[in-house]
Every structure is written in C-alpha cells, then in structure tokens.
C-alpha cells in the first residue's frame, strides 16, 4: 500500500498514525505540508530515517521547494515529481491518504 501524509507532524498526528500502520512492502509519500516531516535536525525526521530502513519514504519535490526547504531533506528520503507520484500510485495496489 502507498501511504500519503499531507499535514505537518508539528500540527497533526497524521504522520505518527501513518508510521504506526505502514508495514514492510508499503511506501510513504510526503506531500503538501507533510514534507516538513523530512527536514534534517527535527524529531520527525529521526522517525522518518528509522522508517526508511523498512519502508521507502518519498517527498514531493515541488512541495519541498515551495516551502523553501530544498537541501534540508534528510538523506534516505527520495524526491519525486508529480509524475513520480503517479508512478507510485500505479505501483502499489491501493493508496491511503492520512489527512
């Protein structure tokens, strides 16, 4: 399953809920304000780094750039464009949006 998270981990618990329900074989895509979870030097990013050991984590580049966060995304989080977003949805049998 592909999981998307679109809200900031500092605002809402969507990221934590997602992480508690994303098992091996799944993937996580951070979009919109969800990209704030992947920023170096933050507690959520540590959780993300830990997660990447079992589940691939992606971030939508356009959302990272819009927020002036280019260059601050932790290693291990792969950037994708909207085309990559589409590919991820196609690749996994279903998608769950953690709103």
């Amino acid at each position: 399953m592909l999981h998307t998270v679109n809200k900031s981990p500092f605002e809402r618990n969507a990221l934590d809920s997602c992480l508690a329900h994303a098992k091996k074989g799944s993937a996580i895509l951070l979009i919109e304000d969800g990209v704030y979870a992947a920023l170096k030097g933050t507690a959520p990013a540590k959780k993300i780094e830990q997660t990447t050991k079992t589940v691939p984590v992606y971030a939508l580049q356009a959302d990272v750039e819009a927020r002036g966060m280019t260059g601050r995304v932790v290693d291990g989080v792969k950037m994708v464009d909207y085309g990559g977003f589409v590919d991820l949805v196609a690749e996994y049998p279903a998608v769950q949006s953690w709103l």
Binding site: N6, E32, G83, V86, V89, A90, V95, S97, L99
Partner: protein, 119 residues
C-alpha cells in the same frame, strides 16, 4: 491505468484541489486515464461559477473546466454536499455535473486506483 480522484476540500483554502489537479495532469501526461474527479465535502466549492480570484494567480475553477474539456474528464459534484453549501445548477461552472455519492463508489469499483486529496 484508470484513476479515480476524490477532492475533499475547496479551492484556495487547502492545497488539496491544487495537488489533485497536478496529479491528474501528470497522470494524463503519462498516458493514464482519469475515470472521474469526485468533489465531496467542501470540495464542491471547486465547481462555483462565481469565483473571481486575483488575476496574478491560478484560477482553480477554470483550470478544472479546461482540463475536463481538453481530456473529456468527468467532474462530478456530490448533490448532498453541494446543496448544503449552496452549489446548484444555476451557479455551477462549466464542465461540472451534479450527481450522487454512487458516482464515487462506482469510481472506486471501476477505476484501478482511487486517490483522495483532503485536509
């Protein structure tokens, strides 16, 4: 692949409508089909003909109209959610149609993937 898209939020207030649009556009560019875009909750506000956003920014409603016309996409606004929020035939933007929640379920059944964009 056939994608169903659900838009749960109105234009401008949340990024959902923008992300949904960019996703739809990217999917079409890759040769996929969009089965339907279903607007629910405040998402029905994407269909108002009365929108007048500032000229120097994107016109979200018109963008949907244009996309639908270019690619023959079915834009469906939920009747119950629309009535609650004052979206009716008389103020419906071009390219949208008002119908029931069954259209959303049908999309879930007939499309290969259903993606939700919300708050």
């Amino acid at each position: 692949m056939k994608f169903g898209i659900m838009v749960n939020e109105g234009p401008y207030t949340h990024q959902a409508a923008d992300t949904a649009y960019q996703f739809a556009k990217a999917a079409l560019e890759k040769g996929h089909k969009i089965h339907r875009v279903f607007f629910y909750h405040d998402g029905v506000n994407n269909a108002t003909r009365l929108t007048e956003p500032p000229q120097d920014d994107r016109n979200i409603v018109q963008r949907w109209t244009k996309l639908a016309a270019e690619h023959k996409i079915d834009l469906v606004v939920c009747v119950a959610a629309a009535l609650r929020r004052g979206i009716k035939e008389e103020n419906l933007a071009e390219g949208f149609r008002i119908s029931g929640l069954g259209q959303l379920i049908e999309s879930g059944i007939q499309a290969d993937r259903l993606v939700t964009f919300g708050d």
